[in-house]
């Protein structure tokens, strides 16, 4: 029984490390070798559709707005993002993806999908279902640990 826990833990740790490394590597090899994983995650948080405010993006990424300001500055300079002041409330800054930003978003998304597909290719329908159920449970448990008030 204990061995099973240990094996699952070790697998999770290894998978975790490999995913970071593969993601890092795939960005550095790809068309967008001028951005980091952190920057890809900022691009993801901005999202394909419309624009988001600095506060929204910072909240989603769980970083301070100061950190985000410099991140956005750099991504604008590199041509992935654009900034505009809200006409309604001039304190608010709206951030959106440029064409280049959208392309980077889509390519990164495809990388993720390809990884999941590769893994599930030789799974049976039943295995897929159980994996899905297990992941949903894992996710739910983690949310409860992270924010017990909500459980």
């Amino acid at each position: 029984m204990k061995d099973k826990f240990v094996e699952i833990n070790d697998l999770l740790v290894e998978i975790y490390d490999d995913v970071i490394r593969i993601e890092e590597y795939s960005i550095k090899q790809g068309v967008f070798s001028d951005i980091s994983i952190t920057e890809i995650h900022t691009i993801e948080a901005v999202g394909l559709y419309g624009s988001k405010t600095m506060s929204e993006i910072a909240a989603q990424l769980e970083i301070t707005m100061g950190t985000l300001t410099t991140a956005v500055d750099k991504l604008i300079k590199k041509g992935y993002l654009e900034r505009s002041r809200s006409e309604v409330d001039r304190r608010i800054v709206n951030v959106s993806l440029t064409k280049r930003g959208k392309l980077a978003y889509r390519i990164h998304e495809k990388f993720h999908m390809d990884m999941v597909k590769a893994v599930m290719e030789d799974m049976t329908e039943a295995e897929e279902e159980v994996l899905l159920t297990a992941l949903r449970k894992l996710n739910k448990h983690l949310k409860e640990i992270y924010n017990p008030a909500k459980s």
Copy 2:
């Protein structure tokens, strides 16, 4: 079909983020609030038993030895690690855990085990097996992507 891939991907991304946050939080709340996750990972790489050389640790963590030198300096100052020159080959530096380092290692290990246990508590035996199989497959696939020569 596509939806299933998307859901699994999204679950993995969420789980991934939550694990970092919970780990970070649990360290900062705990007895060892003076060390970071990165530092816990260095402590893990040194290991409970005997000692390891700088090269071995740097290779395991996939960081340069320069980075490791400063990390080890700090962990020695904080009382988690100790350094000693090899008597056999005086170029080699051996690093090992102090009592405090071992305690930090064990507490972090327990945190991991508790997380896995919490997740598996309400899984059936069959679900556990499928999860294990799926994770083994995922891990194998990732290793192949990461290092295609070995596949």
